[in-house]
């Protein structure tokens, strides 16, 4: 009887340990699709669309079957911000300008919000680089948290971001344009 109790408790402990390990590994890897590398990412053209992944101490940007990697430890600063962009495409927006009586400009009133994620890092020669990503609204803060958890540094509210996690859809930002 004692032995069976021991076995059950052992099995439960192992199951719990397994669950904890799974959740830990799930936290280490997270994918953020619909990211845009606005500028500064080495080997990537400006405004390239792709997927941002924070995984085991690295930040990966995957686009068009290519991957650009960045060591999280080399990141000196992470800043989030927000901006807006036209809801309609550039071509449609430009063509609509020809509409009579300025009616096409009406389209410019429709704008959607997006987040910016700005990183500063140093390469192996100590040279400073900057990268700006655009993400769907509410997408920058979780990545910042992941980067800070994996060893990146931030000049603004570093201790707050680590100590009190901010909800993913939070609109509070350090910077506003």
């Amino acid at each position: 009887m004692k032995r069976s109790k021991f076995l059950v408790s052992l099995a439960m402990a192992l199951a719990l340990a397994g669950l904890a390990t799974c959740s830990a590994s799930a936290q280490q890897t997270s994918k953020h699709p619909n990211a845009i590398a606005l500028t500064g990412l080495t080997g990537v053209k400006d405004d390239a669309k792709g997927t941002l992944t924070v995984e085991s101490g690295s930040l990966h940007f995957t686009h068009a079957k290519k991957t650009s990697d960045l060591s999280v430890a080399s990141i000196e600063d992470v800043v989030t911000g927000e901006d807006t962009q036209a809801s309609v495409g550039k071509t449609v927006s430009t063509l609509s300008m020809a509409a009579p009586y300025g009616s096409g400009r009406f389209l410019a009133l429709f704008r959607s919000k997006f987040d910016t994620l700005t990183l500063r890092y140093r390469d192996e020669n100590g040279a400073l680089h900057g990268v700006i990503f655009a993400l769907p609204a509410g997408g920058a803060e979780p990545i910042k948290k992941e980067l800070l958890a994996q060893g990146a540094h931030a000049s603004v509210v570093e201790e707050q971001a680590v100590a009190s996690p901010v909800p993913a859809n939070s609109s509070s930002k350090e910077q506003k344009q």
């Binding site: 901006d83 040279a127 700006i132």
Partner: protein, 170 residues
């Protein structure tokens, strides 16, 4: 009458001589084979982080494209220490007005974004070689960060006009 025509002819010859002379008004370019770009400073004026990074990245890119230097080093690059005739570019934000892309698009006269930056070109010993205020603007179309591209292009032009890796007049 003949005397007048002779005088006019002489004047014309002198004028032609002046016109044909190589322009000595153009500044002599300072020899500089490499430039190091320091991070944009904005101590007094609060500048959004993405603007600061965009200014820096565009500046490095434009100097590589049209600055006329053999090497463009970034802030903190250890290799710059060995570069001969190194020029260091210090940039400080003096003015920033965040415009509105929506206002630009709707009105075409309002909503301009502008940034004014004081640029100092110094040699490796810290001696000032050139200083200039450069303005970046986006007026009609484009997102706000485009002002940083405008600034970078103008600064690279200033560098190109005043520094040369082979020390000759152009």
């Amino acid at each position: 009458m003949k005397r007048y025509s002779h005088a006019i002819f002489c004047l014309a010859v002198v004028a032609l001589g002046f016109a044909a002379r190589p322009s000595s008004a153009q500044p002599v370019k300072t020899k500089a084979s490499a430039i190091q770009v320091e991070m944009i400073r904005s101590d007094e004026i609060k500048l959004p982080a993405e603007f600061q990074i965009s200014l820096y990245e565009n500046l490095v890119r434009q100097l590589e494209k049209q600055g006329g230097f053999e090497h463009v080093y970034r802030d903190g690059d250890r290799r710059a220490a060995d570069a001969p005739d190194l020029v260091v570019l210090h940039s400080t934000v003096r003015g920033f007005k965040a415009g509105s892309e929506r206002a630009r698009h709707v009105t075409t006269v309002a909503g301009a974004t502008s940034v004014t930056i004081h640029c100092e070109f110094k040699n490796a010993d810290g001696k000032l070689l050139l200083e200039k205020d450069v303005n970046g603007k986006v007026r009609f179309f484009g997102d706000n960060l485009r002002a940083t591209y405008d600034f970078a292009k103008k600064t690279a032009r200033v560098a190109h006009d005043n520094f040369n890796s082979s020390e000759h007049k152009s």
